[in-house]
């Protein structure tokens, strides 16, 4: 079997397939269905400093070849995660990368500081791209100055590998990408969801409990591939491709566009074993095309 291992932002990965934040819970939910040891990395659902109850339902609605979600970062907060969820993840020899979301620079810093002390945390993914919260979230990811501010502040407080997760809801993603790298990002992951809306024509109201939600799934893949291509050529840190990856071939498309690794999101809902099927697809491709992709 081909060796797809790589080092990314100082994190050793068995292979380039990670599971995307918010689509794989805390790992435990999926552990009955697939061997977590086989994944490249597990990105946890975003954690916040304090518990968040999330947004009112309905929180999801299907759209053509995609879905809108407005979960609103429901989670039990940092301390609960460290006490209850991290120990489970630590049993696997797959790196745990913790995705963090704050309402202010201070919250991001606090989260990063605390996570730096955890040897079982192998990296931090900074979510400056969540469209489903009233404060913080995407606001940090749409203005280069705000991006710089939050990433520099986090960088000062941690030596953990820092992955910055970018939003596609911008005119030029390379501007934000460069700002994040200038501020100390070790890698970039993209894309988070696109802001979308769906109206129930019988009620005249949003089909979601909030007005808008984040669009994910195959529908957004062409946009994601384009942004990965642009970003990989604009910065000198590794780029992680995300957006609508359902098959190994989809993943390969991102790798050819310049991504060093990929994350599987919505596909986990359609098939609990999607991440491993996708990994298998990449392996088969590399077997057939030994020179097309470069792993090292």
């Amino acid at each position: 079997m081909v060796d797809l291992s790589l080092e990314l932002a100082g994190i050793k990965l068995k292979n380039p397939v990670m599971v995307a934040s918010g689509t794989f819970g805390w790992g435990q939910e999926f552990a009955d269905y697939l061997d977590l040891n086989k994944l490249g990395a597990i990105i946890t659902k975003s954690i916040t400093l304090k518990p968040r109850e999330g947004n009112p339902p309905p929180r999801i609605v299907e759209t053509p070849a995609g879905m809108l979600n407005t979960i609103g970062l429901q989670n039990e907060g940092l301390e609960h995660f460290l006490r209850n969820d991290l120990p489970f993840l630590s049993k696997f020899n797959t790196p745990t990368i913790v995705n963090i979301a704050g309402e202010s620079v201070a919250e991001y810093v606090e989260l990063a500081k605390r996570l730096s002390k955890e040897p079982m945390v192998k990296g931090i993914e900074v979510n400056i791209s969540c469209p489903n919260v009233a404060h913080g979230g995407m606001a940090f990811g749409t203005e280069p100055e705000a991006t710089k501010q939050v990433i520099s502040a986090v960088r000062k407080e941690t030596t953990q590998p820092l992955i910055v997760k970018l939003t596609p809801n911008v005119t030029d993603i390379t501007v934000i990408a460069k700002a994040a790298v200038a501020a100390g990002a070790d890698a970039l992951s993209l894309i988070n969801t696109l802001v979308g809306m769906s109206i129930d024509i019988e009620t005249g109201q949003s089909r979601l409990g909030r007005l808008t939600g984040g669009l994910s799934g195959p529908a957004i893949k062409p946009i994601a591939v384009r942004m990965v291509y642009e970003t990989a050529r604009a910065v000198n840190v590794p780029v992680i491709g995300i957006g609508g990856i359902m098959t190994g071939n989809d993943a390969v498309e991102f790798l050819l566009a310049g991504a060093k690794a990929i994350q599987v999101g919505t596909a986990n809902f359609v098939d609990v074993t999607a991440s491993l099927t996708i990994l298998k697809g990449i392996e088969d491709y590399v077997d057939r095309h030994p020179r097309s992709l470069n792993f090292s």
Binding site: G22, D32, I60, E62, A65, I71, M246, V272
Partner: protein, 252 residues
Amino acid sequence: MASQEKCRIIDHQKVGPQHYKLVLASDYLSKHAQPGQFVQVKCSDTLDPLLRRPISLHQISPEHKTFALLYEVVGKGTNELTKLFVGENLDLFGPLGTGFQLDSQRNKHLLVGGGMGSAPLLALAERLTGQVSILLGAKTAANILAEADYNKLGHNVAVITDDGSKGKKGLVSDLLLERISQDSVVYACGPKSMLRAVAEICWQKKVDCQISMEERMACGIGACKGCAVKTKGGYKMACKDGPVFKGEDIIW
């Protein structure tokens, strides 16, 4: 634990104006599924529809290694299902969720089904012992589902329709009000407004009540936090903590 498997279709019949019954073969599901649980159905092998659709277990027959689903065509996922033929396979993930608690202390069971809500209650009726009454409500006579199957079980069945085309004219909660007593335990499934009425009646009568809630789902296993139901203990997940909840816990 659930299993994701391709199940062979044993039978597929139209049983109502927009209603179909699918009988499927699976050792695992027929053995492990409990009344009130559901499966996540992959309605198509294309990207439209994309997500699986939750459908309750309608009948569970470990002895035949089969189970049944009863579904109503309401949109594109359920419409794709109608195209399936006997002998083909259907990709299912289940059994999922927390089903009904079979209360063996009490022996006066009142099962209240509104519209499609009659479907999951049959699996429950098959397992209950003691005095079991089934109250079925629907818009009109044609939408009363699985009545024959309920009758076959020998349980007491009462029917009511919005337009009076079958049984009394009225809502199934009217029937419940007539039948409920202190020693009842109520199990209900149906549209939200009906469930709310049932929960309120039971609360007033101080009767235990288990209701099956519907919410749009993605993962089906508690991972995405998509299927939130507001309860007195905060948001719960319909796919994992439910779909069956205590009536008194729901914040409507």
